[in-house]
Symmetry: C4
Subunit: 257 residues, 4 copies
């Protein structure tokens, strides 16, 4: 009934999509900023995303601490708290271990867009190595200091690889962060295979990346088609609300495809 | 009951097969020329192919505009309009992002047939780079000018890769364009792996490609077997009509296997 | 009730296993020699192996011609006829296009056993290139002359790759040819990946290959376990008959594991 | 009701998880030491892990012989007997053929942790080659002499590759050996793909490996989350008992995540 309700329902759908598309498995999570209070955000309690339901969601403060909730939160909630703090322009954050991205966090070869659906990655993806500032650790982001260092690496971009661990992505909306997170591994696979073939590789140009980012809004038909398709595959289509339709309180987006 | 009805039903089956065989996902589409009016064609409205039903089909004019239909069409319908325009000998077109084909659109190494089921590809597959003529774009074919440039690249062949995007394939019938589109990624995988092993690769010779193209018709037993198998896997076998059987109005093809 | 009945039922199970394990898809087939008449063999009519039932089986003569059966046989039945003719010591033949074997038929790097379950391959796998003797063809084995040339390439071994096409395997029993055919692609994958890592590769020694072939019989516990597992996965466990059990007329094998 | 009952139920769950996560298939097995008698252990009879139920379990003595049970045991039970004998600090052992680990047993390039979930591997994984001490064999561990040689290779570590065969892993608990066995192939894949990209690879440092092994206990929230997720995927969630919950007799672990 309210914008908050829509957002919370989209967050549940997003959890299921990320799980069904193999971006996350037992581990990995997604958060969304509170629409009315930028210093709060929502994320599930410590649970595999595939199993998340509405009642599993916890409200967090800006330091990643649960508000009035004694259930176990994700250990790495500080990834979300720190990125949302550093980037007031973004509202949703994903952390995942998606396999195909892992090799690029281990070597010098950067991950950068080669396929059109990878344009949302931006340019070359920075790699955050926790060892630089924190020495030998268990590689998990377990406090705000580590989260803020990761957010610094993310900079003005939308994704950072985490060496030997996975990636963190962030966007203006749940739909966009999910899309980015689903296509990041796909772009990684295409680039890895192009490297197999050898020789010069045609990356997306900055102009192409810009043209694509100008053209898309979260609720344009082309973007919605993927969200609807993934939600359907994940068994959540009954939870979808198209902006502008009855019962929806989403921002009206540009519907031109 | 009529040839049009058979064609339209095959188009629905084809959508499901392409989705089930992972050639298309949320994105990708297939069209077929109107059997009675070469300046018209049919394709689904903007919807994931997996979900397409008979009532989702729209009739288009030669410029890719829907006729008497206000539903949202695919953004890239101009791929279909332009190829059908340039190639009066062909009746069906597929556009897909099938992952295994993507690397070959990024490098110099051409994709060409190495396995017998890849013979329908023809010789070396041309790569269409939208940047050549149109500079920095969002890589999508969003008007007839771009579609015609792609059709020019396709030339007299049956498939063209689209750099950083996917491929466009076209054939004399729905069955043949589906077969080509399903086997294109398989051939790509075999070639990629052969490159891993290193050394000289035995490609199909032009004589072998010609021998295979002479031998096959859309409704020969060997071709039908795959169509029936894929339709069964996609849950559509109840929609099949074998040529020559009761209720079928397909062209009588050469049934010799 | 008879040995023939058991054999025919195993042939149906084998078809389903090969399909479910992705050795075959729409294409590919398996035959078994008639237990009472070595100049006859059984194989399904032209149908995807996944769909084969008892009533789909056709009896063939030594030239690969159906006996008293007007249904369409597989085009490449001559592979089976010729190998069964050349190898009176073997009773079952498989032809398949299994993807992971394809690259090895295209390059100089031979496919040979690296993992213990690949020992049934024997030593280096010969590659049959139809072009050598028959020039440009559609690559299919469509007559006894081509089949006999393939059988010559197979020689005294159990498998031959068919350049740009797939492989043909043959063994003393249905269980063994299925096992060989399932493990051939697995061995191919392990070898391909070992080549990625680079450097010297430890192949199975001839002594190890011999030790393994001495140790296994079709109905030993270790072999039966895989057959039972695969049949169960393929939904056919109700069709299994363990040798020595009530209703079975299989040869009594060595049950020592 | 007792600790033994919990352990036995976990062993059934572990069998299903290893099968569902493709660590094992028809072949492969897991054992657990008897909680009250260190010279005894439990493991299923010779059966695919996917099919194992409580009543399939056999109790073994220290030499790998079944106690009062005439059913066929796994041929390679000596892997378990020997490792449990050599390592009184460990309680559970897995033997598997997981495909992605196979290449590393064939070449000089060692398998070592590159991703955080691979830290449980320890440092470089030793490769046991049965040929060194036993010459040409069928590669199977079929007696205590071979099992003890493998255990010597394992040394103080938690996993050893078995050349041309698979791996053996061992840990302090069922949950930990399952986790290690599931993540070993994942780490192998990441390392293989990083090698494709070329150049220097950032392995986990010994300090990172140590930090991670200090932090985890079998029943910490982060570890339990994966166990619960995998059990749910394998259809066994109804069999789970969380330590500290009603009906559980597991050791109380450190629940701090």
């Amino acid at each position: 009934m309210s914008q908050l309700e829509d957002l919370v329902r989209d967050l549940v759908v997003a959890n299921r999509i990320l799980a069904n598309e193999d971006v996350v498995d037992a581990y990995g999570h997604i958060s969304v900023r509170h629409p009315d209070n930028p210093k709060r955000f929502f994320m599930a309690r410590s649970l595999a995303p595939e199993l998340v339901e509405r009642h599993d969601l916890i409200e967090f403060d800006a330091e990643g601490e649960p508000i009035n909730d004694k259930r176990q939160p994700y250990l790495e909630r500080f990834i979300h708290a720190a990125i949302l703090e550093a980037r007031p322009d973004l509202t949703a954050v994903v952390h995942a271990h998606a396999e195909d991205t892992l090799p690029f966090g281990l070597v010098k070869q950067p991950l950068q867009p080669v396929i059109h659906s990878g344009s949302f990655i931006g340019g070359k993806v920075p790699v955050w190595d926790i060892r630089k500032k924190f020495g030998d650790t268990n590689l998990l982001v377990t406090n705000m200091a580590q989260g803020r260092d990761l957010a610094k690496c993310l900079g003005a971009g939308n994704v950072a690889l985490m060496r030997g661990h996975g990636f963190a992505s962030a966007a203006r909306s749940i739909i966009e962060v999910v899309r980015l997170s689903v296509y990041l591994p796909r772009n990684a696979r295409a680039l890895l295979r192009a490297k197999h073939l050898g020789g010069e590789i045609k990356y997306l140009s900055q102009g192409e990346i810009d043209a694509r980012n100008r053209g898309y809004s979260p609720y344009s038909t082309e973007t919605w088609r993927a969200w609807e398709y993934w939600a359907n595959k994940a068994g959540c289509s009954h939870l979808l609300t198209r902006p502008g339709s009855a019962g929806s309180h989403h921002e009206h987006g540009n519907r031109k495809s």
